[in-house]
Symmetry: D2
Subunit: 313 residues, 4 copies
């Protein structure tokens, strides 16, 4: 019997959700964004994650986004869908919708808003697995969820067939590496468990450590850049990879478009990604969902300057 291998690998951008000026989902723009990404050679798409403003979308809008992307992609690459909500019963509702729409996997955080014990986090994933027949990625995002997923727990759940992978957006690279070595040490039971980094700026380092792929928000803006970086890393050309990654790091500075005295860091970053997509002609409108404050003209000029410097305009 062969050792299983992770099924979800490579560059899997978390897809921005274009909005109309009236703040509805802009389906036409979303379809163009899908082509922009798939056409660049990405290996999968992750809809309804934090970069997708999932926290701001109603249930109906979430379904509309997932349907649009599944239909547009039409099987060319796998589609992962976030099922982000406070607790198990609410997450299960999103999961049922996602399964009906036909995504390939779902991505769930630990419970939030409530104060949850590690045993209850594990129970959460087990109940979700029992309720809905879709592969589950755990989404490790302490900045939003205010708890860190324990590596040993993730692998226990993987060994029991509950989890198919983790998207690690914790920024804790020592923890990430510890997880990777634990995965290697535990053998065939967990060998199919996919480890993806949510980082934009340490993708080469994460791939060198053994992650299976990356879910960088910045790949909305420069998908070719990340596809090339992945290829270079897989070729073992770490010197070139470093140069490519550093170029992307300099591009990533566009997320600081707005000062932290004027809006939240998330609003600045999402506003900048969308402004860049509009400037690049991919989406029609750069609006972000309320209550996020929109970028002003100077801030959009800041984004434009970074695109020019990166050779994207």
């Amino acid at each position: 019997m062969k050792t299983p291998r992770p099924r979800f690998t490579g560059i899997i951008p978390p897809v921005c959700t274009p909005l109309t000026p009236e703040l509805g989902v802009d389906v036409a723009s979303l379809r163009r964004l899908v082509e922009h990404l798939v056409g660049a050679g990405v290996d999968g798409l992750f809809v309804l994650g934090s970069t997708s403003e999932v926290a701001f979308l109603t249930a109906e809008q979430r379904a509309q986004v997932a349907e649009t992307v599944v239909e547009s992609v039409s099987g060319r690459v796998p589609v992962l869908a976030g099922v982000i909500d406070m607790t198990t019963p609410r997450v299960i509702e999103h999961a049922e919708t996602a399964a009906k729409i036909g995504v390939d996997a779902m991505v769930a955080t630990a419970p939030f808003y409530t104060r949850t014990h590690p045993a209850e986090i594990a129970r959460h994933f087990r109940l979700l697995h029992d309720a809905v027949d879709l592969p589950i990625f755990a989404y490790d995002l302490p900045v939003s969820v205010h708890s860190k997923l324990d590596g040993a727990m993730l692998l226990d759940l993987a060994a029991d067939g509950v989890l198919c992978g983790v998207k690690d957006s914790s920024g804790d690279d020592a923890g990430l590496r510890n997880l990777l070595v634990q995965r290697a040490d535990r053998g065939a039971d967990v060998a199919g468990f996919s480890v993806l980094t949510g980082s934009e700026t340490t993708v080469d380092a994460a791939l060198a450590m053994g992650v299976d792929g990356a879910v960088p928000g910045l790949a909305n803006v420069d998908p070719e850049g990340y596809v090339q970086l992945l290829r270079t890393c897989r070729d073992g050309d770490w010197v070139t990879a470093r140069t490519q990654q550093e170029r992307l790091l300099r591009l990533m500075r566009l997320v600081d478009a707005a000062p932290s005295t004027r809006m939240g860091r998330g609003s600045s970053a999402l506003g900048a990604f969308k402004a860049a997509l509009k400037l690049r002609g991919v989406i029609a409108c750069a609006a972000t969902a309320p209550p996020q404050i929109p970028l002003d003209d100077a801030e959009i000029a800041f984004v434009r300057a970074h695109l020019i410097e990166a050779g994207l305009l």
Copy 2:
């Protein structure tokens, strides 16, 4: 012209949501709980708050709870309803439902999961006010929301007619007092702004400082205790009030039924409130929503012992 006075005052328990063994809303038990509370002389009911396990209820269950309580109460006391969700568009959906059902006010937190700037928090409440015609309470709950509402901002929003009050569950009594003195100093513009404490164990102190009422989870278990405490405080008999409050503090220890090595503090507290309601014959089943771990027999016995000590069994 008369100075306006806060409309929502007194003891306003956050109503537990009884569940059936199959984890649906137990409507019959919920009706009995309403009678238990209204019959004890409380001044209002707050449904769909944290104590109501709102984070665990689906949209449909939330509507069912609000409908049941509004119908059961039938105008005897005002009903406040939580509209708890991550961001403005999702909160507005809950608010529209609440308005349709006919509650008297809604209770909204700052955005959570996202990292939100104070200016975006203010914008959130303003957009909610623009969208739905219901009085709004701000819900200050840093332990869940991970941001603290600024007192001056609350009063600015009150002066603009956006907020009708705050439920302060921050545990920051210095901040609470500062807010109360600011309210007094700003005069008629904000004089109708209602300040309620979410505390169980410093209600006498908060009333002495000038809050308009309290929203204590423990009032599910002993509503008469809190109604008496309020009356004693209003009579200015602070010595008796202290004795009554200390009795309730000792009863409150039932929330430590389960050790923190076994489950989250929320699960222990909500499990204990529901176990107490079942032991007192008010609700039929003490189940809490998943993924919360249920109390075991020894833990329920711990709850029983506290009820006996408090003269409630």
Copy 3:
């Protein structure tokens, strides 16, 4: 045999440390400050606490401060001295100096900088007690120490004769009350354990709950105000006490002299206390220790306005 009673009670200001323009201890000003406080009728003095800028004073300066105050006070009221440092061996050194100088009690935090387990915090206090023959107050200051002292642990240490009291600057009034009721419930063993609040703005509430005294930094500026407040509370006149406390709360707003964009909250508060003491003619120079940024003229005018409003200038 009589039940013991707490030995340290009443208003015990944490004494500011006046500095010369060259940033040495200004002994003459410190003596005047002692007379300002003792003359106002305070019940004790707490030197070398956070308000005293203990974190900024060298070992030699700390000794100079304690010697000056012990000598100036000359037994009129008890003198408590902070022995603030990172861990047990370093705290013991300060404690030996304090004992030699002849203070009446020492005040020690849990270890900080290191990440310490509750069992190690208890061990810390026990080792300090074994090493130096002086009554020990535990200093609960999570904002600086980043851990909260557990009430049951404090009372266990009290029952074993290790601690004589706690200075609670945690701002957690629910926790404070829980501690007070636990102390009452545990009887004679811990009845001599002194509970002091570090609050400036909820002193009436804390006294109503049963604390033995208060250690308000603002009492440097208006010691008579706090002495009167204590007397009013002991007389059970809570209505007058509230008015007095609210006046002090309004005065306390002077700590917001400088915007948080320009300096830390501690620098603004300590700078404001010292500016007020200079404006009131008690100390010669308002300098704070480096790297704290000094108040500018507009900020000092803000302090002056608050003194005038409070009738202190």
Copy 4:
């Protein structure tokens, strides 16, 4: 004119401080430890850091440690010394001692215990630079200091000649890389600024990103392992480097010798390092400073097993 290059590079272990059973500095063991490290080919030594239990050492013990190591090393490699204390005046005292003893550079954190503004952190380093003539490393250790040093601020201070480098123990590899790319982008002004990682388990990744060296606590236990890892990385053999780093990661698990229910994570890690040094015959006694709880026999056996697995026993 040539672009300056960082002066302090390579493997610079933070040296454990061996204690006698009576808890004094064990000078003979410290000398053996120095030989153990220098003999293995390390590029420098860092005394009086967190791994050295600096938080637990009195001023006298700190001087004794620095003197012993400077004398033992006798110029073979540079010696960096921590000057860890709460604020500027206290840090300056340690710095003066370190300069007198003749260390090659000092390592200072931001102020802690106090709540300090970024402008005050910068002022802290500038005042230290003005006061004592020794190169300064900034020590970025949020887990102890509770603030994160801003990369742009570090480089501004470097450009002004205030800082010679940073020891980054923040675990924030995205921030680390951002700093490295900023350093490259700002040119000759900051090209001599040394960036060292405090990580044990991502040293290969950090070197691939461009750091100048590493300060791994685990290098006390296996200095040869880290010296080889550095050499392999400098040769650009990243595949072998990964294998070497993963071996060290597995060895690093010895820090989990004691359960977190029994003692703090620091006590477990420092106890394990010292137990390993004793088992390897380098130091005479594995005692850690109070109030840290010592490892028990089973926990020491856990350490031994890891040494055997790593081929070190």
